[in-house]
């Protein structure tokens, strides 16, 4: 029993992070119909910057958190302006390839600036574990889940209840109609990138105390988050988060019960299965609405 609980705790913790990354994918997809393959790098960047700021100046963690996330958000805005903004033919395929280039550039830049050695960050409220029915739960894991859920709920609120958020969804649904009613479509794309970057950074900062971070940490995070987003239905914030949790838990149980060496394979196996069985994802729109858009 305690074994099951241990796997569940581990799975939900890492699943929340995958879920956050998936939400980031959803935001950009909703605004631009493009998959932002640099999403994972923003996760890495958040953790990296927080670790570097903390190591250099020793400021209190909440401040470091805020700075890292804000910096990532601004960087996201700048990156979007410099890539999508300069794209002469902003077809979705081109945008996707641009994000791949951006990811590689970011990874290389971080490697050159901060080196190859992993970096760490102290846990937000210490490392004394809690014991729950024979399984151990780290306080940081609780932070991760709480913060992730809070961000996810905030994003849902933002997209549905605020003018800005509704405007973003309108621009995603139909660019021409949205600009006709006065929504600045270009600005929506930039903002979505910034928000996604910020969300990624939140995931990175909360996860670094547990897993350490290094310049190549982002690639796997991005891929897993992408799987989670597809699993839950690309474009649906709740779905993305749910997909993340499912992925994390399945991974943890596969490693715990099955062969621990093949844990990483599980994520991609899940992806293949969902694409065979239900391509629109667990909470995704079905084929009907897609045709209606045309």
């Amino acid at each position: 029993m305690s074994e099951l609980l241990q796997f569940a705790f581990s799975g939900i913790m890492i699943g929340s992070v995958y879920g956050l990354v998936a939400v980031g994918f959803c935001i950009v997809y909703n605004a631009t119909e493009a998959i932002n393959f640099a999403q994972g790098e923003f996760v890495m960047l958040g953790g990296m910057m927080a670790a570097v700021i903390f190591k250099s100046w020793g400021w209190p963690l909440p401040l470091v958190f805020f700075l890292a996330v804000t910096a990532a958000l601004l960087l996201g805005l700048i990156c979007e302006k410099m890539t999508f903004g300069l794209c002469r033919d902003p077809r979705v395929l081109n945008l996707i390839i641009v994000t791949i280039g951006l990811a590689i550039a970011m990874k290389g830049a971080v490697m050159m600036i901060w080196g190859k050695f992993p970096k760490d960050l102290p846990a937000f409220s210490g490392e004394k574990p809690l014991f729950v029915l024979g399984a151990t739960l780290m306080p940081q894991a609780i932070w991760i889940v709480l913060i992730s859920v809070a961000v996810m709920l905030f994003m849902r609120f933002f997209l549905e209840k605020t003018t800005l958020g509704t405007g973003m969804r309108a621009a995603a649904a139909d660019k021409v109609a949205a600009s006709l009613v006065g929504i600045p479509v270009r600005w929506v794309s930039t903002l979505s990138f910034g928000i996604a970057a910020g969300i990624g950074a939140v995931a990175g900062v909360t996860l670094t105390p547990v897993t350490l971070t290094s310049y190549d940490h982002g690639t796997m995070m991005g891929l897993k988050g992408f799987c989670a987003a597809i699993l839950g239905g690309m474009g649906n914030v709740y779905g993305g988060f749910l997909g993340g949790i499912v992925l994390g838990v399945v991974e943890a149980f596969a490693a715990g019960w099955g062969s621990s060496g093949y844990r990483e394979v599980v994520a991609f196996l899940c992806l293949i299965l969902i694409l065979f069985i239900r391509p629109s994802g667990i909470l995704g729109e079905t084929g009907r609405e897609r045709i209606a858009k045309i």
């Binding site: 796997f7 913790m13 050695f117 760490d120 151990t136 996860l207 547990v210 897993t211 149980f253 844990r263």
Partner: protein
């Protein structure tokens, strides 16, 4: 005409005779294995520079070419092929500093008939010897390290051990070795777990290990996931001693793991505890000299991996000294007859049947205590 022709031939041969000795090196100084390769690269560059200042070997200058394998097997093989075909090196010292890469270079060595000296652990690099004519190791293999670990466990009356190895060539080789040596060793492996080198959460594996109730957990990787293992284990309230091998001798990893690293025991070569060795140890002088030279040039201290590369480059130097030739076959023969004192041992056990120069007696056991290494079980080199 004929006189001119003969003269031209003479000068051509003369030019050929006086060309520099060309040594190639493949190291991984980016990627997860970077912290291993970093000191290796700077060490060999320092050695070649200082040897050239002293006049080279046999009057020949040494030309060193170093390529990055980026911790990836494919890049390592490409780099080696480049050294052989494009740069036309005579010998390669440095095979990617990761066992997986070194193993992949064996067919390259055999195909091109060029000696390759590896600074990595896996025994399969030089075993079976019939297929490894051109491969040499400056390092102990995991056979000796695991053997020393078993000796240590026996001395401490430890009988139940868990093995947590990564899925790289390095991890798998150690796992196979432990399986091989377990019968009649006095210890029992109660749990065999594996993990991916880049894993960030090891609690599932540690949970299963916890149920098996070992006395010691032996984990085997070169990556930062080892830090996560130490942290996870302590966070889960596990009190067993954590042990690892010669791929994890990294003070920075220990400081990152904080409290969790206190008392972590490592089985390794003797370089890190050089100053603590008895003066009678023949390697102590070489260790201190190397450390001083490195500090003078680079301003920081080298580490055990740099020391391995040091010995590996010494092997190449000695081969040139003995063979007095560019001929790869002669260099290869010379490598089978080496006899010199390196930083990590007295290298005199080479032979046509044995392509690595150290034995189990060259391994030491030390632990991390209070921010530094503390020698627990010394070397017994004769």
């Amino acid at each position: 005409m004929i006189v001119l022709f003969v003269l031209a031939q003479g000068t051509a041969m003369g030019a050929e005779e006086k060309r520099p000795y060309k040594i190639g090196s493949v190291f991984s100084y980016t990627g997860p294995g970077a912290f291993l390769g970093d000191r290796m690269k700077t060490t060999v560059e320092m050695m070649v520079e200082s040897m050239n200042k002293k006049g080279g070997i046999n009057g020949h200058q040494i030309q060193l070419t170093v390529y990055d394998a980026a911790s990836e097997v494919t890049k390592g093989v490409t780099a080696a092929n480049r050294l052989i075909t494009q740069d036309q090196v005579d010998i390669i010292s440095g095979a990617g500093n990761m066992s997986g890469i070194s193993l992949a270079l064996k067919p390259v060595a055999n195909r091109n008939q060029i000696p390759i000296i590896a600074n990595t652990g896996a025994l399969a690099i030089v075993d079976p010897i019939e297929e490894s004519r051109w491969m040499f190791k400056s390092h102990l293999s995991d056979r000796e390290i695991i053997g020393k670990a078993i000796e240590y466990w026996n001395s401490k009356k430890i009988t139940k051990v868990a093995m947590l190895s990564d899925t790289t060539g390095f991890g798998k080789s150690a796992r196979d070795e432990l399986r091989l040596q377990e019968p009649n060793s006095g210890i029992k492996v109660v749990s065999w777990e594996e993990f991916d080198m880049n894993a960030t959460d090891l609690t599932p594996q540690l949970t299963r290990i916890r149920s098996a109730e070992p006395e010691v957990i032996l984990f085997w990787t070169v990556a930062a996931s080892g830090v996560v293992i130490m942290k996870n284990a302590r966070q889960m309230g596990m009190k067993q001693t954590l042990m690892s091998g010669f791929g994890f001798v990294v003070p920075r990893f220990m400081t990152m793991a904080g409290e969790a690293a206190e008392g972590c025991v490592l089985v390794s070569l003797r370089y890190p505890v050089g100053p603590q060795l008895p003066d009678a140890d023949p390697c102590k002088k070489v260790i201190l000299q190397y450390t001083e030279e490195y500090k003078a040039k680079y301003g920081s201290e080298p580490d055990v991996y740099g020391a391995e590369a040091y010995d590996g480059m010494l092997m190449a130097f000695e081969a040139f000294k003995m063979a007095k030739s560019f001929d790869k076959e002669k260099l290869r023969d010379a490598l089978e007859n080496l006899n010199f004192i390196g930083t990590n041992g007295v290298y005199n056990k080479f032979s046509p049947k044995r392509h690595y120069g150290l034995t189990k007696d060259d391994a030491v056991v030390f632990e991390w205590r209070g921010g530094d290494w503390k020698l627990l079980m010394g070397a017994e080199t004769r």
